[in-house]
C-alpha cells in the first residue's frame, strides 16, 4: 500500500469504498414507520418478584409502555395524568406498564408509588434498557397495538401532552 501520483493503491481501495458507503449511509436519515416493532423485553422483574415479558403484559387492544425513574422531574409531572388515563381505559383493553431505567433507584419505587397512589404495574429494567430502546430522556413512552407494533411514541413531557396521548389511546381502542 503506497501513495502514488495516481492516488492510493493496493488494499486500501476497497476499505475506502466501504468507508465512503458507510459515511453516506450514516448521513441518511432512517425513516421511522408507525408499524415498526417494539423490541420485546423478557424476564423483567416486577415489584412482587415475578418475572414479566412483553407478551405477558400486552393488552387486548393496546399497551402503553413508559420508561421512567422515580426522581425524574418530568416523570413526576406527567404521571398523575398518565395514571388517570390508565384508570379511564384499563377495563377497555388498555394495558400499561412503567419500566424503571435506573437500577440504583429501585428501592425508591415502592414508597414513591405509595406516596402518589400509583397503581400502574412497574417493572425493573436492567442497565441495558436505556441502550436497548435508545432512550435519551425520560419519560419516554411507546403506545403499542395488540401485536406489539408501535402505534406512536413520545419523549419528554409538556403540559397538555396527556391530551394527545389520550386521543391516540382512544383511536387504538377503537372508540
Amino acid at each position: 500500500m503506497r501513495l502514488t501520483k495516481g492516488g492510493l493503491k493496493g488494499g486500501l481501495k476497497p476499505a475506502l469504498y466501504i468507508l465512503l458507503v458507510a459515511l453516506v449511509a450514516a448521513a441518511t436519515p432512517q425513516p421511522v414507520t408507525a408499524a415498526e416493532s417494539f423490541k420485546p423485553f423478557k424476564n423483567l422483574k416486577a415489584l412482587d418478584g415475578s418475572r414479566q415479558s412483553l407478551a405477558g403484559v400486552l393488552g387486548t387492544k393496546a399497551t402503553l409502555v413508559v420508561f421512567f425513574f422515580p426522581t425524574c422531574p418530568y416523570c413526576n409531572a406527567a404521571f398523575p395524568e398518565v395514571q388517570k388515563i390508565y384508570d379511564r381505559y384499563k377495563d377497555q383493553g388498555l394495558s400499561m406498564v412503567w419500566i424503571n431505567v435506573l437500577p440504583d433507584e429501585e428501592k425508591l419505587i415502592a414508597p414513591w408509588r405509595e406516596q402518589h397512589g400509583y397503581t400502574v404495574p412497574v417493572l425493573l429494567g436492567s442497565r441495558s434498557v436505556a441502550n436497548d430502546y435508545k432512550l435519551r430522556t425520560t419519560p419516554t413512552h411507546f403506545l403499542l397495538d395488540s401485536a406489539g407494533g408501535v402505534i406512536s411514541s413520545h419523549a419528554g413531557y409538556s403540559a397538555g401532552d396527556e391530551q394527545a396521548l389520550d386521543r391516540d389511546i382512544q383511536r387504538a381502542l377503537g372508540r
Binding site: G6, L19, T71, P73, Y74, A77, A78, R136, G156
Partner: protein
Amino acid sequence: MSRRSTAISSGRSVDSVCALAAAVAVELCGLRLGAQAPPRQAPNTPARTVSQATDHLTVSATLSAVTIGPGRRVTLTAEVKPKTGIHVYAPGSQYRAVAIKLEPQSPFRTDAPVEYPKPVLYTFKPLNEQVLVYDSPFRLVAQIVLDPARPFVTPLQRPASLALNASLDYQACDDRVCYLPESVPLRWTVTLLPTTAP
C-alpha cells in the same frame, strides 16, 4: 456491469475519489478525536487536566499534582460548563445532584466534603416547584488522599503508578425534558513517591 467497467478504465479518477474520501474520513475522525482529546502535554509528563464533553456540558478537571508523597492530598478542581438552556441539580434539591465520585474500589478517598458554589433557584413549571440548580459555569473542588484503609497502601520502596479514577455524575434537564443521568469518567495516572527515600 457498465459502472464496474468505467471504474476500472478510469482508475485515476477513482483514485482521486478514494483520496478525497480518505481526506474527509481523516478530517472527520481528527475533528472528533480532537474534541475529546486532553490538552497537549510535554512528553512523559502525566496529564494533570482531563477534558470531556457531553451533549449537556463540558468538564475540565485538573489535579493539583500527579506526583503524590506520603500523606499528601491532591486537589481535584472540576470546571463545569452547562450548555445553553441546560441545568444540572445542586445538593439540596430532591433530584440527583451533580457530584464528583471516586470509583468504589479506589485506593483514594475524599478528605473533606466536596466544595460547591452557591446554586440558583429554578422554577420547575410543570410542578410549580423551586429547585436548586446550576445553569451557568461552576466549579467543584474535592480534596483527595490515599485511603489508608486500602490494602494497596503499604510502604513503598520506589515510585509507583496508580490510577485515580473519578467521575462527574449529574442529571441534566432543559425547559422541556430531562436527560438520563450521566457519569463522565475522569481518569489520571498518578505517581506515588516512596514512603522512605530510596
